[in-house]
Amino acid sequence: MNLSIKNLITFRRTPLNLLVAVTGALLLAAFVAGAVVYFLHGHHAFNVTRQHPWGLLIAMYVFFVVSSTGLCIISSIGHVFGVKEFQQIGKRAIAGAIVTIISGFAVIALEIGHPITMLIYNVLTPGLTSAIWWMGTLYGIYLCFIMLEFFFLTIKINHKWSKIFGIGGLLSGLAAHSNLGAVFGFLISRPTANGVFYPVYFILSAMITGCYLIYIIYGFKYRNNYPEPLRVMFVKLNKILGMLLGILIFFEAWKILTALYGTMPERAETIMYAVTSPNFIIGELLLGMLIPFFIILFSNGQAVKPMVYASLTGMIGIFFMRYDLVHDTLVYPMTMLKRSEYQLPPTLLHYFPSPTEMAIGFGGIGITILGLYIMEKVFNLDPDSED
């Protein structure tokens, strides 16, 4: 551990480092500015409405916690399941998991109207039938577990305890994350979201997100020029990622086909809107799934360097998956009757995030960049000699 201020503020001034530093600082400033506007104007600063009550901030919260769960799952391949090649990334992945979930909590704290009331009444009058209650509580437990795991990995090195808390973190993370899927899956009012798909899909996409983030974090650290043990690990990660992407594409295809088949009212119309939107075709499908999948497929899993760039497009795709998850769930109005003579009949809802929502949501990435930087500077995240 190195907590000196001098250590924190000194870094190699390469163009890439400076670019990331400036981007991170701008995003952090955006987050603070967005928070100020939110404190002044509340939800009126957002473009959410009665008909479309969730927007970008929920999408970004999901984005961050998906990232955290994904990093935790990928780190557990080494530390919990004992796959030797993956043990070298354990500490950095758990550090990333802690930082991303804290970023997610920071974003959601500015979306939930009364976060302090939440802390009080979550305990005093828990809504045990609520997926949000389970998700929030389990994520709280998850954060405790992974922080303890990190403590025993880096500060007071003890592999027995780090494994125990690693198992706890993995299980609570899986439970929390599938409950987050259930937040959408339990909505009986929304036929496109209702069902088993989202709880399973969330875990699957978390693992994919974890792979992408490992690529980005290590690609940045090693400037895409890896020592042999890491290269070997990445070839194996490619095979895992390729398989996961294949399963995801298969899942998505059948989700779409079953939703369209029979043109069930509301469901088919919503899915047709979703799959014909550029967000899905370019964002989710091309950037999020096909580019990384085909690079892995055509290189037979050997392409390591191109996968860093594919992971960047992949994370953009993951963002669109989260955004569309929220928007597509809410896009169909709950009442199709018009409320005024001088009004057109209701159609699918329009939503585009306000500048404040964008500042807070994307500003959360600034928190992640700052957190990862501090983690990297303060702790030794490289493998111990015995790893």
Binding site: G42, H43, V48, T49, R50, Q51, P53, W54, I112, G113, H114, P115, T117, M118, Y121, N122, L124, T125, P126, G127, T129, S130, A131, I132, W133, G136, V183, F186, L187, I188, S189, R190, T329, L330, P333, M334, T335, L337, K338, R339, S340, E341, P345
Partner: protein
């Protein structure tokens, strides 16, 4: 202890919206595009000009359905949404964290954010205004000039609403979702 519901003879509705105004006045609902506890929905007229079907133009007064199996109550993480002793679905602003999950979960678009308390608000059958003062009608019912609404105890066989539902056929909205709504549209 009662089980309050409401029957709506919706074909008598003339779309005067006195009910909307009375509700806002009685319950202090603030002005604003999204701020309403009750509303009158209007079906698009069918046919093409000049062959328009006048009979297809109907109005459907609506509000919270006070479901016996309310999705909004199930999803609330702090039990801020609850059934009171009269099975009216209500919100305790003290406990509401404004996660707006209930607004997403409601199949009837019956909830909105009240800027006075900055919590979720909805129709509560005037429980904390008229009913609390000993009245037996809601503001929307009392003001309706064509007597569209009949409010009362569904468990009391002698109540007006029970008698009406015994005599008349009715439909409920989105009952296939299993919500057991307590608003009955008389046919």
């Amino acid at each position: 202890m009662a089980r309050y519901g409401m029957a709506l003879d919706y074909k008598s509705c003339i779309n005067c919206r006195a009910c909307e105004t009375a509700c806002k006045a009685e319950n202090g609902v603030l002005p604003g595009r999204d701020n309403y506890r009750i509303w009158v929905g209007q079906k698009e007229i069918e046919g093409e000009y000049p062959k328009l079907s006048i009979s297809s133009l109907t109005y459907q007064p609506s509000q919270c359905q006070h479901c016996d199996n309310a999705p909004c109550q199930q999803v609330c993480p702090t039990n801020a949404t609850y059934y009171d002793e009269n099975r009216v679905v209500r919100v305790d602003p003290e406990k509401c964290i404004l996660c707006t999950y209930c607004i997403n979960a409601c199949p009837y678009d019956a909830r909105y954010v009240d800027d006075r308390t900055v919590t979720v608000d909805k129709c509560n059958f005037c429980s904390d205004t008229r009913l609390a003062n000993g009245e037996t009608t809601t503001a929307c019912q009392a003001t309706c000039p064509t007597k569209v609404r009949t409010f009362g105890d569904l468990d009391d066989p002698n109540s007006d609403i029970s008698q009406l539902l015994e005599k008349r056929e009715y439909r409920q909205i989105k009952e296939h979702l299993g919500t057991k709504p307590k608003l009955f549209y008389l046919l």
